[in-house]
Subunit: 123 residues, 2 copies
C-alpha cells in the first residue's frame, strides 16, 4: 500500500485539472452554466443523457471545488439554482477554448479517424 498507483508527480497541475474535469459530464455542465444560472431539472433536460444521480454527484464535486455555487430558494416545491462562481468563470473561458478547438477541428479529427481505420481496419 505504498500508493504506487497514486504517485503521478508531486504536484502536477495537469493532473489536478484532470481529476476534476476528466469525467463524462463536468465540462459539459460547466459549459452549460456559462450562459446563466440553471435549476437542477432544467440542467438535467439540457444535458439530457445524464441521470439525476450523476448530475447531483458532478454538481457536488464542482461545488466542492469552488467552481459552481448552489442557491436554494424556499419556494413551494423548492427551487435550487446552480451558477458559476467567479473561479468557475475563469475556468470556463479556457473550457470554451477547448470547445472552440473542437468546433474548428471536428472534421480533421474525423478525417484522421477514417484514415486510421481505413489503414488498419482488421487490427
Amino acid at each position: 500500500m505504498d500508493r504506487i498507483y497514486n504517485v503521478y508527480e508531486d504536484r502536477c497541475p495537469t493532473r489536478l485539472v484532470l481529476d476534476r474535469l476528466a469525467d463524462k459530464w463536468a465540462l459539459l455542465i460547466l459549459d452549460r452554466l456559462r450562459e446563466d444560472a440553471v435549476r437542477f431539472n432544467h440542467l438535467r433536460r439540457e444535458i439530457k443523457g445524464i441521470s439525476q444521480k450523476v448530475l447531483s454527484q458532478t454538481l457536488k464535486k464542482l461545488e466542492r471545488d469552488g467552481l459552481v455555487s448552489r442557491s436554494v430558494f424556499p419556494t413551494v416545491p423548492v427551487t435550487v439554482e446552480y451558477r458559476l462562481t467567479p473561479l468557475g468563470h475563469t475556468l470556463t473561458e479556457t473550457v470554451s477554448a477547448l470547445t472552440h478547438w473542437a468546433e474548428s477541428n471536428m472534421d480533421a479529427v474525423f478525417a484522421a479517424q477514417a484514415a486510421y481505420d481505413g489503414a488498419s481496419p482488421a487490427g
Copy 2:
C-alpha cells in the same frame, strides 16, 4: 436498445472533446509531448503511474484522432517515437491554457475544498 444513454446532443463539440480527452491520461500525455518527441518507455517513465497497456491504448486513441504520430525506426531493439502532429499542437496550446489555469488556481480550489469539507464534514 434505442441508444437512450447515447443521445447527448446531436453534434456537441464539447462532447467530442470529452470523448477523447476525458480520461485519466490523455491530457497528461499530450502535455508531455509538447516538449519533444518521446519514445514509448521513456514516456512511460515520465508519466510514471501509467501502465503499458493504458499508455499503449491512449497513444493509439490519440494517433487515431490524428493528434499524435508514431514513427518506427528499424534499429536493433526497435525504436518507436511519438510526437505531436500539427493538429495535436493546436490542441495542446489550449491544453496548456488549462494547465496554466490549474497552476494559477490550485490554491483557490484547495481552499474551496477545505471550506466545503469543513462546512459539511459529516455528510
